[in-house]
Amino acid sequence: MAITKKDVQHVATLARLALSEKETELYTEQMGKILTYVEKLGALDTKNIEPTTHTISSRIFRKDEAKPSLPQNEILSNAPEKAKGCFKVPRIIE
């Protein structure tokens, strides 16, 4: 499967990765190889086969009840930047 540098750049944007030129070239080559390898799945007829996303079928639900959570200061203890009890991020709107 041929994957182009442009494809890789597009995927990097979707994945929120600022790849360098060198990384883009390397991943174009390596992803191409891996995608060629996985093409072998095309040999199998999977018409009418249900996909498996989880191996156990029992999905357990619990009651929607309010319960205590970790205190605010502990939740914020790992924040790179915080202000007034909130996570602080760089400007969103220019």
């Binding site: 979707l14 390596q30 199998l44 790992n78 924040a79 790179p80």
Partner: protein, 488 residues
């Protein structure tokens, strides 16, 4: 025998008989780590003060004679993928270099409640992505049997710490073989339980439909002891199974009479090391002598497992790892123009090459126009792989295979080509895709004195038959008594 070479059950006996205290034991292990970890590099963090505190608590408990478990006072290590309250948890990634969780993972809490002493956090492949521990952002862990070789991965630090006598036992996680393959490379026992048997709460997610935590130990008895503490329903993990937990140590009998062992022809292929093949075939003979019978079986979709895995696991990883964005915890890039720029720079700086490669692959296979051809197709073939196992388990109780096609390979041997590295997981991956339990235990050594692993696969929630088979084999052999002999 040196204390650091003993098993959980041997040390438990010494602790109960007051031949030794947990504090003495813990100090002995801390000394051992100081002496050999410069060479082996199994630990990212050693929690000296915490472990001494825990040992003192355990000694009080042992003195009181109340509420003692087989783990009380026993020093263990844990993979650095489990959140530990107040102790840095890196997942071997730069993006979590400064992350200190404000809570314990469910299994960590269970082990602490049982009285285990936690010596520290083990090295691993970054975000558990790898088969050699060479993808750690910090350093490479060495195989205690030959320091020029990898310990396997991704739980390579855990496996090496057990094999080098830097702890009594450890816990790892297994998404495509990350407990069993390093156990095989380092000559120890490793069990990946049935999906859902052990809570994933507080375990940093790689591929949520495949990840399971499990014990890594010096023998099968220790493995059963650890499972007794680790297994069980947890309301905090919506995929946790609400089924009673048996006493796994009751399964440790040598009664395999009438047990049918399936041997899948797809696992004895070209590329299988001749020493590995011979050791596994000899192991089958040992179990036959004990009264088990052999059935030839076929798992026809085996050849597709790696392709399915590298689509499913990367897709799930790309979604799970979206949370590392520099906002709430972990690394944040400096001098960003705006929020989007901060996300992209943070992630480029924080993730290593293999993690980026997998995020890229997963994002690609989930993206518009490719979803049906890649992710959906892989999930359908996953159904076929699961059905293969359902069919053969009508004819046999367990399946025996090699754990890995070769013994531990040389450091640097497979880093250039990701696909070659992926192929070292060829025998362990299907087990995760099908959600069944799988165990690796030592079954011999190559001509170069490298450990060989035997894999035993079982029916969902039938860890007991897997452990029974492993125990029967182990008791008839001496492999589990050999130690890597890392010099102080």
């Amino acid at each position: 025998m040196e204390l650091y070479n003993l098993t959980i059950h041997e040390l438990h006996e010494k602790l109960q008989k007051k031949e030794i205290t947990s504090l003495q034991l813990t100090e002995a292990f801390l000394k051992r780590i100081e002496a050999v970890d410069g060479k082996i590099k199994a630990y990212i963090t050693v929690t000296k003060e915490d472990s001494i505190k825990q040992a003192k608590e355990a000694d009080k408990r042992l003195a009181s004679g109340k509420d003692i478990t087989p783990l009380t006072g026993v020093p263990i290590s844990v993979k650095d993928i489990f959140c530990t309250n107040g102790v840095r948890t890196t997942c071997a990634s730069k993006i979590l270099n400064n992350f200190v969780p404000p809570y314990d993972a469910a299994v960590i809490k269970k082990l602490k409640d049982a009285g285990a002493v936690i010596l520290g956090k083990n090295n691993m492949d970054e975000f558990a992505m790898g088969s050699s521990t060479e993808n750690s952002a910090y350093f490479v862990t060495k195989n205690p049997w030959d320091v020029e070789r990898v310990p396997g991965g991704s739980s390579g630090g855990s496996a090496a710490s057990v094999a080098a006598g830097e702890c009594t036992a450890s816990i790892g996680t297994d998404t495509g073989g990350s407990i069993r393959q390093p156990a095989s490379c380092c000559g120890i026992v490793g069990l990946k339980p049935t999906y859902g048997r052990v809570s994933r709460y507080g375990m940093i997610a790689f591929a949520s439909s495949l990840d399971q935590a499990g014990p890594m130990t010096k023998d099968v008895t220790d493995c059963a002891i650890m499972m007794n503490t680790m297994a069980g329903y947890d309301p905090q993990d919506s995929t946790s199974i609400d089924a009673p937990v048996p006493d796994y140590t009751k399964a440790l009998t040598k009664d395999v009479k009438g047990l049918k062992i399936g041997i899948p022809k797809e696992y004895f292929i070209k590329g299988l090391d001749s020493d590995v093949e011979k050791a596994v075939k000899d192991a089958i003979e040992v179990l036959k002598k004990q009264g088990a019978s052999v059935v030839d079986i076929s798992l026809p979709h085996t050849d597709y497992a790696i392709a399915v895995y590298y689509l499913v696991a990367t897709a799930e990883a790309s979604s799970n790892l979206a949370r590392f964005d520099g906002v709430k915890f972990g690394h944040r890039a400096k001098d960003s123009k705006n929020l989007l720029d901060m996300y992209c720079k943070t992630r480029d700086e924080g993730f290593g090459p293999e993690v980026k490669r997998r995020i890229m692959l997963g994002t690609y296979s989930l993206s518009a126009g490719y979803y049906d051809a890649y992710y959906k197709k892989a999930s359908q073939v996953r159904t076929l792989i699961k059905r293969d196992f359902e069919e053969v388990f009508k004819k046999c109780g367990v399946i025996l295979t090699p754990t890995a096609p070769t013994p531990a390979f040389k450091i640097g041997e497979k880093t250039a080509d990701p696909l070659t590295m992926y192929l070292s997981d060829i025998f362990t991956i299907s087990c995760n895709l099908a959600g069944i339990p799988g165990l690796s235990l030592p079954c011999g050594f190559t001509k170069d004195n490298l450990p060989i692993g035997l894999q035993i696969l079982g029916k969902p929630l039938d860890e007991e038959t897997v452990l029974k088979t492993a125990y029967s084999y182990e008791q008839a052999t001496e492999w589990h008594k050999k130690r890597a002999g890392v010099e102080n």
